[in-house]
């Protein structure tokens, strides 16, 4: 993105994709639920398996109790030997069958629950990707890219886990606790209530703990990202750090950020540990009571030893799921916040899109016309960036735009492919308002060479052919020859198959600009814009590229934005822009004759050494 646009848009790092207000929480959860229900078969399998698995699981303690009682009945009845042993086979085989079956159903429950989540995640991924690709520049100016990436990773995960960790678990817990409570209380109300006494305490503590941990976790991530930033900036700016011998200062900065994060990491342990320990204690406490009362009843003959074993086994069985109530509550909370953020993105209006009756652009003469165009960035109030811009360019003509940083030069050309929509006036191509034609055909007709264009993590060849992935090899090579890049590429070990490092980091600024120029030369636009795109290229190479550009521009409208006046003095018309208005226009000679701002700038560039500091001292 050009420096112009950066200067003009306030890149507020605090501009997030806002989460929906709290009142809409339920509707968010319902919306996720509906997305899950779009896979009815898998949902039905998961829920069905959950119910049956819970019932089977509840049978196990009873079978154990029966088996234990069986031995006592045999002893009491005086039955020994094979007959008695045979009586044990029934509960034993039943236990084996029930356990194995329960295992199978739990597998089905978990698998289908996860499958539903992953399906939903897949759909959301596509929807996000599609939305992000289509949202207009003004959205991307406003929203930090890091926030969008988080959205696509963490928030998506939060929504994905909703079905398996929130919905299915509610069903599972309700079943287990319900059946358990019914069985135990109907067998022995007092002992049943005692046995279940740990449930509310653990449910409460685990929910509170998990919610607290979640808050701490978010906070910790925040502090860790500050720490990460301190380290990253230190390493990326290592030359500055060394140049100022600021290592001690940097170490202190690191220690501060590090301690901040460490304290919270300790706090996390301090929240987690006492609570889990207390939960275990309350469980064992209830178990101790059951044992005490149970044994007393055993002595009094009011209870069979098998029933006591059933109670104890039931409690053991309930312990784990009850502890997970906290996780479940957390899963709801997480799905709610993540979902709101995600839907906040998906529900964004795509402001720049095809009009309902949009038609394909028809290029006849290839004339571009700005008619009284004005523009203000959305949300920037009335601060107009461009005011009453009018000009016209025909095929084969070159228009140059000159002006100070922030004067609106880049914004002006960003309006042509509708990266932003004009707020007043019209832009036409061959007489067709650009808002009345389809975006795809419009953007095909316009190519912009950006000052700092994005290179993709793939081969050089793929990067050059980015706008025309079907191109023949010869065309790619010809384009890179025009951009004075071909020989350099051939010198690389892997030639055109060389991978461009992350965000093109391994190429120099000039090489990246040349690659961007080559990429544009692959296209067949009617209007081509060079937005300060040769600034980092040395003068000699630029001279050779300019020759190629001249050939390329022959039957197109060309717009050049440049700092070095030498690169635009051959233009058919030069527009001098100041504060969003065209203040001077004409050819190089005409503007020099005017003795206005353009001439002043020209003089400044001609004598760069004259009023320079170094010249003031020493030089004769």
């Amino acid at each position: 993105m050009s420096s112009d646009a950066v200067g003009a848009t306030s890149r507020n790092s605090s501009a997030h994709v806002e989460a929906a207000p709290l009142g809409r929480g339920l509707s968010t959860l319902l919306r996720i639920t509906r997305m899950n229900l779009r896979h009815p078969r898998q949902v039905a399998f998961a829920l069905g398996a959950t119910v049956v698995a819970a019932i089977l699981q509840s049978l196990i303690p009873q079978l154990l109790g029966q088996a234990v009682d069986q031995t006592q009945i045999a002893i009491a009845g005086g039955v020994t030997g094979t007959a008695a042993a045979q009586a044990l086979w029934t509960p034993a085989l039943l236990l084996l069958a029930v356990s194995a079956l329960r295992g199978l159903l739990t597998m089905a429950q978990n698998y289908f629950a996860e499958a539903v989540g992953h399906q939903v995640a897949y759909e959301l991924r596509l929807a996000c990707y599609d939305k992000i690709q289509r949202l207009s520049f003004s959205f991307h100016d406003r929203v930090h890219s890091g926030d969008l990436i988080t959205l696509g990773m963490l928030d998506l995960d939060g929504v994905r886990m909703y079905f398996s960790t929130a919905l299915v678990r509610v069903l599972q817990l309700t079943m287990l606790i319900g059946i358990g409570a019914y069985m135990m209380i109907s067998t022995d109300p007092v002992l049943g209530l005692v046995a279940l006494s740990f449930v509310p305490f653990v449910a409460w503590r685990s929910s509170v703990t998990q919610l607290k941990l979640r808050a701490t976790w978010l906070d910790l991530q925040e502090r860790l990202s500050v720490l990460g930033r301190v380290m990253e900036e230190n390493l990326a700016g290592v030359r500055v750090v060394r140049a100022f011998s600021a290592q001690d200062y940097e170490m202190a900065k690191f220690d501060r950020a590090s301690k901040n994060a460490l304290d919270l990491a300790h706090e996390q342990v301090d929240v987690y540990v006492p609570n889990t320990s207390a939960m275990t204690l309350s469980f064992f406490f209830a178990m101790g009571l059951v044992l005490w009362i149970g044994c007393a009843k055993l002595i009094a003959g009011q209870l069979s030893v098998g029933t006591l074993a059933t109670f104890l086994a039931f409690m053991t069985m309930l312990q784990m799921p009850v502890r997970q109530i906290g996780l479940m509550v957390n899963a709801f909370a997480r799905a709610y916040t993540c979902g709101s953020r995600l839907f906040g993105l998906l529900d964004q209006d795509v402001t720049i899109r095809d009009a309902p009756e949009a038609r394909p652009l028809e290029i006849t003469g290839g004339a571009l016309r700005f008619d009284n165009v004005s523009f203000a960035y959305p949300g920037a109030g009335n601060r107009a960036i461009l005011k009453n811009i009018s000009f016209e360019a025909r095929r084969g003509e070159t228009i140059a735009i000159v002006g100070a940083p922030g004067s609106g030069k880049s914004t002006m050309v960003h309006l042509i492919p509708r990266f932003y929509d004009v707020t007043g006036g019209t832009i036409t191509l061959d007489g067709q308002d650009i808002r009345g034609v389809t975006l795809a055909t419009l953007r095909k007709a316009i190519a912009i060479v950006q000052q700092d264009a994005f290179l993709f993590t793939t081969t050089i060849e793929n990067n050059i052919a980015y706008g025309d992935p079907w191109a023949k090899e010869q065309r790619i090579e010809r384009a890179s020859e025009s951009a004075q890049l071909h020989n350099y590429i051939l010198g690389l070990p892997a030639g055109y198959d060389t991978l461009v490092g992350e965000r093109g980091a391994s190429l120099s600024g000039g090489q990246r600009q040349r690659l961007t120029i080559a990429r544009t030369m692959m296209l067949r636009p009617s209007v081509v814009v060079f937005d300060d795109s040769t600034a980092a290229i040395d003068a000699a190479t630029e001279q050779r590229i300019r020759e190629a550009i001249r050939r390329f521009a022959k039957d197109r409208v060309t717009i050049i934005i440049a700092q070095r006046l030498s690169s635009l003095k051959h233009a058919d018309c030069i527009l001098f822009v100041e504060n969003g208005e065209i203040v001077e226009r004409g050819t190089h000679q005409e503007l020099l004759a005017k003795r206005g701002r353009y001439k002043a700038l020209n003089d400044l560039q001609l004598r760069p050494g004259d009023d320079i500091a170094i010249a003031c001292r020493g030089a004769p």
Binding site: L93, E233, T457
Partner: protein, 626 residues
């Protein structure tokens, strides 16, 4: 919703209807091995160095862990005792019941205390070690040579500082827990055999089955998990790329092609996750089935023994309790193996960073250079190369007098920037000497040297924080007035005041909300606040628009007042007025003199000068009488 939203895109017709041959989204390179040898002695020793300060914590937590395991083993035994005494045919033995309840209470209190102590200790110890390792590494990176930093990507170092340290933390935590797992396993086996040898042996016979299944299962499952992990980072990478490159994507109209390509990756990710889920879940029925089998064995065999009077019914109940905990240790121990391998791979990468040699170091008797020194710079027969066999500077000698401004000129690769780096002792010379204020830089402390040599580099680098913090930088004692004064001196005050919060304005990522020129003005102000005797400008005005350059030229005047200046500039016009110009070629000084003298010599300088002015020279004639 998703499917409907993402309108089915169609790729435009092409030669053979296939997907575009040259289009990919979010390519992904697997560059680091995930798993190392399970036990690497050298790595273990290095990790232990970091654990050593906390060894008391380790000992206490292992002790607490053993107590914790002990109470867990004890509880079923107490239950057995209580039931057996309640069941004695003699009937009532209330004192035994009370004793059991008392023992139970003690056991659970012990359990509580032990689990509290051990988890707190382990959690904090592991996190402390993580932060210590990270600090050691970060501190080390502050000292290693710039050539190491130049050839190592920041991202790579960051993944050491953020990712690899985490696997060490995980390793430490699970190490302690695996001690517990082993203890629990042996404890259960021992108690079961102790309660009844025959029943114990019978029940334990299902254990090897699980062990074998786990060993067969683990490598396959791990492969599936890794694949899912891999596809996940591929889709996330592709998404990040779409976000960062969205402007290019839209202007090249690649949305539809990219969407289809992304869909491929997202589908692959979905498939990989479903496969991984299958692998994860297949263990559930196996463990449950084996548990059921063990219970059935206990009931049939144990039940018969109860009926025969060989064992008490309490033993049977206790057995049923142990079986429920039976398989846990095996499950976590097999997982521990992967954690360990991962930690060793990470550990080796960490050791690699920690072992990078520090080349430039203060001598033990290094002196502090005082701000009162004269500010002269002298190169005496300096030979230097990043690779000793290919020197970039060869026997260079020159002297810059106090207060003088000297420009270094030469084609790319002539050694200008390397010479500048030697002034600051970023590297050590191979032969010869660099003297600052008449003293060899190797005899001075780097810290004091840095205070007297300020540098402004081609790429202005700003830190996250306010404008004020960036200008003040490490001079934390600089007052606000001093900072504002510096900003005014370099002509930055005006634009700073136009920012929403003036000097308190938060800079975006690397100052992205400022233009390049504005960022450079801030770094000039920073150099002014640093108040050094010697100022090095390394291409500080390249790539800057004419408007800002005008401001910067004025800033330079302020900066160089009363200082020694060393300047490199690409655009020769900017250094035309230097006191002296030294022309370098292939690491050697070939011309020296002021502008006029060098132009008259008609050598390399005049050739370079004319080349860079080629363009505007013609215009110069008709307007500038000068």
């Amino acid at each position: 919703m998703a499917k409907g939203h993402a309108s089915e895109p169609e790729i435009e017709p092409n030669d053979d209807g296939r997907r575009p041959p040259r289009a990919v989204v979010g390519s992904h390179r697997i560059e680091e091995e995930m798993f190392g040898r399970a036990l690497d002695k050298n790595v273990m020793r290095r990790i232990w160095d970091f654990v050593r300060p906390y060894r008391a914590m380790v000992i206490i937590s292992v002790a607490a862990l053993l107590i914790f395991i002990g109470t867990q083993l004890l509880i079923p035994l107490i239950i057995r005792y209580a039931i057996d005494h309640a069941m004695t045919p003699a009937g009532v033995d209330r004192s035994a019941l009370l004793a059991a309840v008392g023992a139970f209470a003690l056991a659970i209190l012990g359990n509580f205390g032990a689990s509290y102590t051990q988890e707190t200790m382990v959690g904090k110890m592991a996190v402390n070690v993580l932060f210590d390792i990270r600090r050691a590494m970060f501190g080390h990176l502050q000292k290693v040579s710039l050539s190491f930093m130049d050839k190592t990507e920041v991202g790579r170092l960051m993944s050491r500082l953020q990712g690899d340290v985490n696997s060490i933390q995980e390793f430490l935590e699970t190490s302690v827990y695996s001690v517990g797992d082993v203890a629990l396993l042996f404890g259960i086996v021992f108690v079961m055999l102790y309660l009844d040898l025959r029943l114990g042996l019978l029940t334990l016979s299902v254990l090897p089955a699980l062990l074998i299944i786990r060993i067969v299962w683990l490598p396959r499952a791990r492969e599936a998990f890794m694949a899912a992990h891999e596809t996940n980072s591929v889709v996330n990478g592709a998404l990040a790329e779409a976000i960062h490159g969205v402007r290019t994507v839209q202007s090249m109209d690649r949305q539809q092609v990219n969407f289809i390509l992304y869909d491929d990756k997202a589908q692959a990710d979905l498939r990989a996750h479903l496969i991984a889920a299958r692998y994860a879940q297949v263990m559930v029925p196996i463990v449950d089935g084996l548990t059921g089998l063990a219970m059935a064995v206990v009931i049939v065999a144990g039940g018969s023994m109860v009926m025969n009077g060989r064992i008490d019914v309490g033993v049977l109940v206790a057995y049923l309790f142990y079986i429920q905990r039976f398989f846990d240790p095996i499950r976590s121990l097999t997982l521990q193996y992967s954690v360990m391998q991962r930690a060793m791979a990470s550990g080796r990468r960490l050791t690699d960073v920690l072992d990078v040699k520090i080349e430039v170091q203060d001598k033990p008797d290094a002196k502090v250079i005082s701000p009162e020194m004269d500010g002269s710079v002298e190169f005496r027969d300096v030979t230097f190369g990043y690779n000793p066999n290919h020197p970039v500077l060869r026997k260079i000698s020159f002297r810059v007098n106090p207060g003088e401004t000297v420009a270094l000129v030469g084609p790319t690769g002539s050694g200008k920037s390397s010479a500048m780096a030697l002034v600051h002792r970023f590297y050590d010379v191979q032969r010869g000497q660099v003297l600052i204020g008449g003293r060899d830089v190797r005899d001075l402390t780097q810290e004091s040297l840095g205070r007297q040599v300020a540098m402004v580099l081609q790429e202005p680098f700003l830190f996250t924080g306010t404008v004020f913090e960036n200008i003040r930088y490490h001079k934390t004692d600089a007052t606000r007035d001093k900072v504002i004064e510096a900003a005014k001196a370099v002509g930055a005050n005006d634009f700073i005041m136009s920012l929403a919060n003036g000097y308190e304005a938060q800079l975006g990522e690397r100052g992205s909300n400022l233009s390049l020129g504005q960022r450079q003005l801030i770094s000039f102000a920073r150099a002014l606040v640093a108040d050094a005797k010697i100022l090095v400008l390394d291409e500080a005005t390249a790539n800057i628009d004419s408007y800002t350059e005008m401001l910067i030229q004025n800033a330079l005047r302020k900066l160089l007042e009363g200082r020694t200046g060393l300047v490199i500039a690409h655009r020769l016009a900017t250094i035309r007025g230097a006191d002296r110009i030294i022309v370098l070629e292939n690491g050697q000084v070939i011309e020296t003199g002021n502008h006029d003298k060098l132009m008259a010599m008609d050598g390399l300088y005049s050739k370079l000068y004319n080349a860079s002015f080629d363009d505007i020279a013609e215009v110069k004639l008709d307007i500038s009488p000068h």
